[in-house]
């Protein structure tokens, strides 16, 4: 190791600069702070991600519950039973209207339970049917009363089509 003799002035000159030290320390602090912030954001995001994942799981379960409910309500078994409870009878006689040729195909016949081709109530097993339609003749009747106030007035004339008018029925 070598030792040198220097003057006071030279020593002052050789002393490390205060500003440089400050810049260095400040730089280190800034970098560390930056890292801290980044870390915090990352951690925060990790928590956010976790809560979103949980939410997604809950929503997926919710979708499944609703899907199963819809499946059950829309199954033909439920529809047949519900229609039967409302006293509906399938009408096998098909009547088709040909608007262009102004023609009616088939003879309209009222449906009657005695002539129905098939039992109205469901006969086909379905163990998956959970939720079923709750309405009955009584509930539907009361719903109609409530709605009747707002019932729209039927249009005065027949529909205008490219081929002309469908004759409006005299009885409404």
């Amino acid at each position: 190791m070598a030792v040198y003799m220097v003057s006071q002035a030279q020593a002052k000159q050789l002393r490390p600069k205060m500003t440089a030290g400050l810049i260095l320390v400040a730089g280190i602090i800034v970098v560390m702070l930056g890292q801290l912030v980044l870390n915090m954001i990352l951690t925060q995001d990790a928590y956010h991600l976790r809560s979103l994942k949980l939410e997604k799981r809950d929503l997926t379960t919710q979708v499944q519950i609703l899907q199963e409910e819809v499946d059950s309500l829309s199954s033909p078994q439920n529809l047949a039973d519900a229609a039967n409870r409302l006293g509906m009878v399938a009408n096998p006689a098909s009547v088709l209207l040909d608007i262009k040729k102004d023609k009616v195909f088939g003879k309209p016949k009222p449906a009657s339970a005695a002539n129905a081709a098939v039992a109205s109530a469901n006969l086909v097993a379905n163990a998956a049917m959970g939720t079923v339609s709750e309405f009955s003749e009584a509930t539907v009747a009361s719903a109609e009363v409530a709605e009747s106030v707002e019932t729209e007035k039927p249009a005065a004339s027949g529909l205008v089509l490219e081929q002309g008018l469908i004759p409006a029925s005299p009885t409404r």
């Binding site: 519950i65 078994q77 096998p92 098909s94 086909v124 379905n126 163990a127």
Partner: protein, 592 residues
């Protein structure tokens, strides 16, 4: 300077020791870092990495309009750790509340379907595991989770749900408790439905926490494809309703109905009663868990006459005006051989139309045997008999069509009116489809395709067309079959207001040991509208109690055909069938 020397010697020894130690470390370092590096890295990775299987979800099965017939849902097994069972403490707004085990049991018991006593018994002890409920649905799962019980845990697993129950259950098949497909399309198309399980590897820290960004998917999960069927679930349901009604009324063993779209060969309905509910296959007898339409072969009886008549016309053996003798009883040209009609009558002189309309066995054999055996056998093969359909349904029967060389003298006659041969419902329906489709038989379509999540078509059947008879023969034969519905004693019941219907009744005896028993397979197979065929509907009722004619088969036929015509908006016929002879003496019968 003795001490100086001693010092430097000591220094020298120290340096030597240092060098040796550094060398030793260096060798070790090279050994670890270079020589055994790979092995050590692997060991370390193994100890902190975990491989997890990501199960693929089984695909859906849908009907022609996209209605879901089978889907995958999650079910949950509810378990508890009795060891940890205890009160739950909660601090709300500084107030500590306690929920005792008794209170929790009362809340939990109805959700897991146990009585409070049973539940308490299952929570007793200090084991780590006690099952409380199996296979609960998502709603129950949510309700239990909301109770916030720390010692309850769930095992979720994928399960199969058939939202429409037994609708098409016979063809869908079902899966076992462990998800293995056991029958029907579920099994046949398992490769496409099952998908491929994925695998992922990630690293975890000493505390078992997953190290972020360490996921490596070694095998991506490929969910199962969607199987799209040609079945129309609404029509299928309707047909099943009709058949369930019929089977109940007649005390029949089973009944089946097939609806075929003539122009495309698509199977719109393959209905049966009884029919399995795939949600609960155990509720059905083992014999009723498959599909009779594909798996049960029966002697068709008189519905075969419409096909023999087509052969007679196609070979130009006779035309619609040629007549044969048709007594009610006829001795054959070999000892002990005789044929009789199903009802007693004076000797008729019947045209082909008359033979069909009166369903005369004697008349039909007199026409039929004019064609040699080999030709008839070839026609039967071309109509699709004697081999399984291209659908290759699980356990499908080919029926029995013996080689013509093995036909004995009786079989030679009997095959003309549908005895001595056995067929499946699907074979007969497509033989009629050929007649309805200008003589061209199309391969049946039941599965339209199987499509992956990303829209790639994984499977699509190829459809072949076979010309069986000429267009002229096919159309003329349909006109003759219309006479069955216009004038036939039983056939008239199959008439549908506004539509021209061609069809044939069948009352086949069922082999019982070596002879024929007193029970029948009754059928009605028909086509409508006859002038522009859209649908074939074939109904068979097996072993109805005390039923010896086909009248009862006409009602379900009519109901199902009418429903098909109605739901597919087929306009009623505007023409009348041509006047062709079908009377007792070959005359044209007057219409009402």
């Amino acid at each position: 300077m003795g001490s100086q020397r001693a010092l430097s010697r000591r220094l020298g020894v120290f340096a030597l020791i240092l060098v040796v130690m550094v060398l030793g470390l260096g060798i070790r370092l090279v050994d670890y870092q270079v020589v055994r590096a790979e092995q050590i890295r692997e060991e370390s990775f193994k100890s902190r990495s975990i491989t997890q299987t990501l199960p693929a979800l089984r695909g859906q099965i849908r009907d022609a309009s996209g209605q879901v017939l089978a889907r995958t849902v999650f079910r949950y097994d509810v378990n508890a750790a009795p060891k940890n069972v205890g009160s739950i403490f909660k601090t709300i707004d500084g107030v500590k509340t306690e929920r005792t085990v008794e209170q929790i049991v009362l809340e939990l018991a109805p959700l897991v379907g146990l009585t409070p006593e049973e539940l308490t018994a299952r929570l007793a002890g200090d084991s780590e595991y006690s099952n409380l409920a199996k296979k609960v649905d998502a709603e129950t799962f949510n309700a239990i989770r909301e109770l916030g019980i720390p010692w309850i845990y769930f095992d979720p697993f994928a399960d199969r749900l058939y939202p429409n129950g037994a609708v098409a259950g016979n063809v869908l098949g079902f899966v076992g408790a462990d998800g293995t497909p056991l029958a029907g399309l579920e099994r046949q198309y398992n490769t496409c439905l099952a998908g491929v399980d994925g695998q992922e590897t990630f690293e975890r820290s000493a505390e078992g926490v997953r190290i972020p960004t360490s996921n490596v998917t070694t095998q991506p999960t490929q969910n199962g494809g969607t199987l799209n069927l040609s079945i129309d679930a609404n029509l299928q349901f309707f047909a099943q309703q009709v058949l369930a009604d019929t089977v109940n009324d007649l005390g029949a063993q089973w009944a089946s109905a097939v609806v075929v779209e003539v122009e495309t060969g698509r199977l719109l309905a393959a209905a049966e009663a009884p029919s399995v509910d795939p949600n609960d296959p155990a509720a059905s007898d083992a014999a009723n868990r498959g599909s009779k339409i594909f798996q049960a072969a029966f002697e068709p009886g008189s519905i075969m006459k419409a096909l023999t008549s087509a052969m007679v016309l196609d070979t130009k053996t006779a035309d619609a005006f040629d007549k044969v003798k048709a007594p009610d009883y006829m001795k054959l040209d070999f000892a002990g051989g005789w044929i009789k009609d199903s009802f007693g009558h004076e000797p008729y002189n019947l045209t082909l139309g008359g033979v069909l309309r009166f369903s005369s066995n004697t008349g039909m054999s007199n026409f039929g045997v004019k064609i040699d055996k080999e030709t008839r056998y070839n026609y039967l093969q071309k109509f699709g008999f004697g081999s399984v359909s291209p659908l290759r349904f699980e356990g499908e029967s080919s029926g029995i069509l013996h080689d013509y060389k093995d036909w004995d003298k009786m079989t030679n006659y009997a095959t003309t009116y549908g005895q001595g041969i056995s067929v499946t419902g699907i074979q007969m329906a497509y033989a009629y489809q050929a007649m309805a489709n200008d003589g061209v038989r199309l391969d049946p379509i039941l599965v339209e395709n199987c499509v992956a999540d990303d829209g790639t078509v994984l499977y699509q059947p190829k459809q072949n067309a076979t010309r069986v008879i000429s267009k002229e023969t096919a159309n003329l034969n349909l006109n003759l079959m219309e006479k069955v519905v216009e004038f036939g004693g039983v056939g008239q019941n199959a008439a549908i207001d506004g539509y021209r219907v061609a069809g044939k009744t069948g009352t086949a005896q069922i082999k019982d040991g070596s002879g024929y028993g007193s029970q029948f397979a009754i059928s009605f197979y028909g086509i409508a509208p006859a002038e522009n065929p859209k649908f074939v509907v074939g109904v068979t009722i097996y072993k109805a109690i005390g039923v010896s004619n086909s009248l009862q088969a006409t009602f379900p036929f009519k109901a199902i055909m009418q429903q098909a015509l109605k739901s597919y908006r087929v306009p009623p016929s505007t023409t009348k069938s041509p006047d062709l002879p079908s009377g007792k003496y070959g005359e044209v019968e007057p219409r009402n």
